[in-house]
């Protein structure tokens, strides 16, 4: 009896302890590697979105408990995060030990030599977990390498910005009949922009008729970098205008200098974007990426293109979303020829967003920060991490049962990410990303506010972009 009792106790302890440290394969390795840094305080900053919050709320406290390294992880708005990071990097003050490096800003950071090369860390067996398995990361990690293949950031989030829609509305027989009667073809996920427009118009009018708050379109049209990003990352590529309209060989945007920013196609796409705002909720000109997610979760939108890092809670969390189980994803509609270009690798249809954690050149506790970064990206935790925040950075995560379950609940998002992610691309290599974005923002928001026509805005924008490039010496 006693032996049984002890056995049960032992099993119980093992069970409880393994549950305490959720998903750690080799706690002793971590404790040993962190010994020299016990009691150190590392400080990091990131954007206040689901993936970073997951790290702050779960990964950081567990890391602290296990290793004794204290983690002060700041999550704040995108604007503040960048301001603080760039100021720290520029001044070399060493306030932060690890920072958020978004996929589009890496080029600027690399050009300034602001980040620490991680290769020496990776080859140091004392501080790199044997299970780390760098090869397991998806191709997304290539965005964080320099020309020689040195790694400067480990991805912690990667997701697409693509089309999502309300399955309940699209499958409703009454709605389907009404749509067919109005437009002459069956209501289905749009593959062309004309179809998208029809559907948007239909649902907004439907909402008005029925007196419910329903709209067929949503956008992030606030006077904020987000509206410039929406055009550059999402709308223009799907209409066939790539790389922000800039010719990457001579760094010029005007059509007469080899760029595509004020081309007819770009103008057409921009005019479409501004006109479409009438089918979005009236507050659309105050929306950034967070409001678009929130309004989708509130059930007011029938279709739209959003950053799918929010897909997780929209599709599965009833405490935050009113449309659980009613959402599915699809590829965005494209202009003729764009899909073929993308499949052939000559273009792309949308944005592959994401970010990594990098270590500033001025960081004071680089090794401790490196341990924490590995901790967040360890294989065992990725499934859980994906459940908390819809992102996948490791190939093995696709096979995790939690992710497979999530895939079904989101209408196949992870399958799409795995199989068709190659059709999407990250931002082009533009080291002058920040000042460039300011210029785009200015002209795009002027047209969105109605101060100037979209066509004129683009002509002016192209001219100013060229001027800026020249000014900066390119």
């Amino acid at each position: 009896m006693r032996k049984l009792g002890i056995a049960i106790l032992l099993v119980g302890v093992l069970f409880v302890s393994s549950w305490c440290f959720a998903a750690v394969n080799n706690p002793e390795w971590w404790q040993k590697a962190a010994e020299p840094y016990k009691g150190v305080v590392i400080r990091g900053i990131s954007e206040s979105t689901p993936p970073s919050k997951a790290m702050v709320e779960v990964a950081a406290p567990e890391f602290e408990k296990l290793t004794g390294i204290k983690v002060e992880f700041e999550v704040t708005s995108w604007d503040e995060m960048y301001n603080k990071s760039i100021q720290d990097l520029q001044s070399g003050a060493g306030i932060y030990d690890f920072i958020y490096v978004e996929q589009d800003i890496i080029y600027a950071y690399l050009a300034q030599k602001w980040l620490t090369n991680l290769n020496p860390f990776i080859s140091n067996a004392n501080i790199t977990n044997p299970d780390f398995d760098l090869d397991d990361f998806t191709t997304f990690i290539n965005y964080f390498k320099d020309a020689e293949g040195n790694i400067y950031g480990i991805p912690f989030e990667a997701f697409l910005k693509s089309y999502i829609y309300r399955t309940d509305l699209f499958n409703d027989p009454e709605i389907k009949a009404a749509f067919k009667a109005k437009y002459g073809y069956d209501l289905a996920v749009p593959t062309t922009w004309e179809q998208y427009t029809d559907i948007a118009k239909f649902f907004t009018e439907y909402g008005k008729e029925k007196g419910i708050e329903l709209y067929g379109h949503v956008a992030q049209a606030k006077t904020h970098p987000c509206v410039a990003y929406e055009m550059c990352e999402t709308i223009w590529p799907a209409w066939g205008v790539y790389n922000w309209g800039i010719n990457l060989e001579n760094m010029r945007a005007s059509v007469d200098k080899g760029g595509t920013l004020n081309s007819d196609q770009a103008k057409k796409a921009f005019r479409w974007y501004v006109d479409m705002l009438q089918y979005a909720p009236p507050g659309v000109r105050t929306y950034t990426w967070d409001e678009t997610g929130a309004v989708f979760g509130a059930g007011k939108i029938a279709q739209g293109i959003i950053y799918l890092e929010n897909l997780g809670w929209i599709a599965t969390d009833p405490s935050k979303s009113a449309v659980v189980g009613k959402i599915a994803v699809a590829l965005p509609p494209t202009a003729p020829g764009v899909m073929d270009d993308a499949k052939a690798g000559k273009g792309y249809i949308g944005y592959y967003d994401g970010g990594a954690l990098g270590i500033p050149h001025s960081a004071k506790n680089k090794e401790a920060a490196w341990l924490f970064i590995q901790w967040c990206m360890r294989k065992e935790w990725q499934g859980e991490f994906a459940k908390m925040a819809t992102r996948v950075v490791r190939k093995s995560t696709f096979e995790d049962p939690l992710v497979k379950e999530l895939d079904a609940q989101t209408g196949g998002y992870f399958t799409m990410l795995k199989d068709q992610g190659y059709l999407f691309a990250g931002a082009p290599a533009l080291p002058m990303h920040r000042p460039l974005n300011e210029v785009y923002l200015k002209w795009i928001s002027k047209a969105v506010a109605g101060e100037i026509s979209p066509e004129d805005a683009l002509d002016n924008l192209a001219k100013e972009v060229d001027q800026l490039m020249e000014d900066l010496g390119y």
């Binding site: 400080r43 206040s48 700041e74 704040t76 708005s77 995108w78 604007d79 503040e80 603080k84 100021q87 720290d88 520029q90 001044s91 070399g92 003050a93 306030i95 904020h224 987000c226 950034t288 990426w289 967070d290 409001e291 929130a294």
Partner: protein, 276 residues
């Protein structure tokens, strides 16, 4: 004027007073109301009365989050700067008042321009200089920096007071064998105390209220509460209740000091041009 006319005028006066008081106080009242509402309650609409009090709006930012630290920083910086400025100003104004220092008119003009120029014109040099000197994100850096606006102003305010203290007292004390420091500490300062208090209070309020430089020159350790307030309006959708709560706390010193030095605040803001 006849009795009827007078009461009519009195009525008008009270009416105007009440209107102005309501217009002035309503936004402040609204801030209090929002600070007492939870997120859900806030979005229920513009209801004017609030019966419940949602204390997490105050608790979370100050106890759980970093705003407590921001508050401490603000206190430290405002008090530190006031101490520094008052000490230096007393010495300098004594000198200006007792001895003829060349170019004091030009100095006065320079004072005014420092006070009147857009603060933004100073951010580039300070941003770069502070980085190089390692003063970035330190309370000490801000304490020094604020002198550029506050010290000339304090000198200007105190000079009038100093001039008002008769020189004969100096001479009397010196004849009695007092040293310069003794003279300052035991004679001048006690006499100038009201003026010094006013200067100190005004200085403290200016330092406490400052936003731009605090936002640009601090990052984590030395963030002040005014900067913290601006941080609330984020892309994620603002937590209005908490922002209102922090705003209320920001307001507290102002209310306290108004009670003490109301008249002098006006005088100070007009460079003493208008005294009550």
């Amino acid at each position: 004027m006849s009795g009827g006319k007078k009461t009519w005028k009195l009525f008008l006066v009270y009416l105007v007073c009440i209107l102005i008081a309501v217009a002035t106080l309503f936004p402040i009242y609204w801030m209090f109301v929002i600070s007492a509402r939870s997120r859900l309650e806030v979005f229920l609409g513009p209801r004017l009365i609030q019966t419940s009090f949602y204390s997490p709006n105050y608790y979370r930012p100050f106890v759980q989050d970093v705003y407590g630290r921001y508050l401490a920083n603000s206190l430290l910086i405002a008090s530190g700067n006031t101490l520094l400025v008052v000490c230096l100003a007393v010495l300098a104004t004594y000198a200006f008042s007792r001895f003829r220092v060349p170019g004091s008119n030009n100095l006065f003009f320079w004072t005014i321009t420092n006070r009147m120029a857009p603060p933004a014109v100073f951010i580039v040099p300070f941003f770069l200089m502070f980085n190089r000197l390692g003063l970035r994100d330190t309370q000490f850096g801000l304490i020094l920096l604020y002198c550029i606006f506050n010290l000339p102003f304090a000198i200007w305010l105190l000079k009038g007071m100093m001039d008002g203290i008769p020189k004969e007292l100096d001479e009397a004390a010196l004849i009695d064998g007092c040293s310069l420091w003794g003279l300052l500490f035991h004679v001048i300062v006690p006499l100038a105390k009201p003026g010094i208090m006013v200067t100190a209070i005004l200085n403290w309020i200016f330092a406490w209220n400052e936003y731009l430089f605090a936002a640009i020159l601090t990052s984590v350790r030395s963030r002040t509460i005014t900067t913290g307030l601006a941080e609330f309006v984020t892309v994620i959708g603002t937590n209005w209740g908490e922002m209102a709560a922090v705003s209320v706390v920001c307001l507290v010193p102002a209310i306290v000091f108004i009670g003490i030095a109301q008249k002098h605040i006006i005088a100070g803001l007009t460079f003493g041009a208008v005294k009550d």
